[in-house]
Amino acid sequence: MHPSMDFGVWVAAALTLFIFSFLYKDNPLYKFAEHLFVGVSAGYVVVQQFWQVLWPNLIEPATAAGTPDRWKFFVGGLFCVLLFTRLFPAIAWTSRYTIAMLIGTFAGLKVTGFSQAEVVEQVRATMVPLWNAADLGGSFNNLVLVVGVITTLVFFFFSKEHKGAIGATARVGIWYLMISFGAAYGFTVMSRISLLIGRSQFLLDDWLGIVRF
């Protein structure tokens, strides 16, 4: 056993144990760690945004001599400032120009990307051969895929009551959905256990030095 001599590691270990203490019951140590985390995260983001975003992309080029088309940076800066007018009700409406620009740009970006990657490509990937004598396993997989897509789509078709053939098809769709929810839940459990493993490795290795990972 070789406990760490690094003060930072001891602080991290103590905060980890404070957070874990919530599993027993809520307590002041947990609350302290929780509030510290929120405060430090907010501070980190502010500093990061200033030095990695605002300074190199706006303040520095806007103030440096010789920057081509310097006026563009002042226009961008003005739009940033307009967002803060929401703090003053009399002129709060001016912030809508910035918000409108953000929404318009984002919608444009999303529509083109989504149409290509999610609609065209995914529809294309569903148009697969259902029978290939040379690859029976692949044919079966393709059949499972196509049946899943059709039955799930039918389940979300609400213009006709789910009775008879449509009801039976929708019921198969429900089975597909349930299996996909189960898979998603299994992956979620794996993710959460991984986080516990990560913290345990930190405590056993970096902090206590019992084993090396």
């Binding site: 290509q116 986080l195 516990l196 490795q201 990972f213």
Partner: protein, 274 residues
Amino acid sequence: MAFGDTLEKVDRRWIFLVVALLVVIPLLFPLRLPLAVSGPARNFYQAVEAVPEGSIVVLAGDFDPASAPELMPMTSSAVRHLFRKNVRIIALELWEGGPPLVDRILHEIGDEMGKKYGVDYVNLGYKSGREAVMPSFGNSFSRTFPNDYSGTPVGKLPLMAEADNFTKTALFVNISAGYPGTKEWVQQVQGRFDVKMVSGSTAVQAPEIYPYLQSGQVLGLLGGMAGAAEYEKSIEYPGPATKGMDAQSSAHMFIVVLILLGNAIYFSRRRANR
């Protein structure tokens, strides 16, 4: 029913304790359970393996400390695999918490393998704007990131003179914890710039990436710590993910037992009420 009633009254803290023991004990005393490499992880390995020596690869580390146990091991393995093949890396991050983590991996493994910053690898750092950054980055690396993570103008980094967009790169590796991540890179960059792409993601996000894997938009996928362990096995460099798999399997088995018990109690109670 008495057994079911007793189980229902068990304090949940006993379950937490058992899970904690099932995680810690295998970490202290490894069981060395067998580990098979799945198809998506094998495809990830093969996509990296197919990158020609000396080429340039873009690596986006879109995660933060919250998902480090799952994503740091796969990032380390990808960097090690690429450096081993003398492939050069241009890294970027779209999550605020990502730059120090990716920077540490690049420098640690880079120093270990004799790689030089600016020539063999570059970390462009963080850029705000989430998915709006992606098409801009696809058009021009240097215009989107005029400076690297430490503030050096990219014009002073020899590697950046060789590639300013995806046409000069051989592969795009995205390690993703959520938004923005693999989903958005596929939507904004993969199809638009015809990029060969592989993804490593948290287990929570992995089911959302499978459709892209099936369609070929993503060539390979590492899902969570299990995916990271499979990749470590593929490159024959066992790391923290491999060493965590015994704990993972033990905890999973316990949860499976709990689910089966819960269902058994539910069905027996339903039958009794009929």
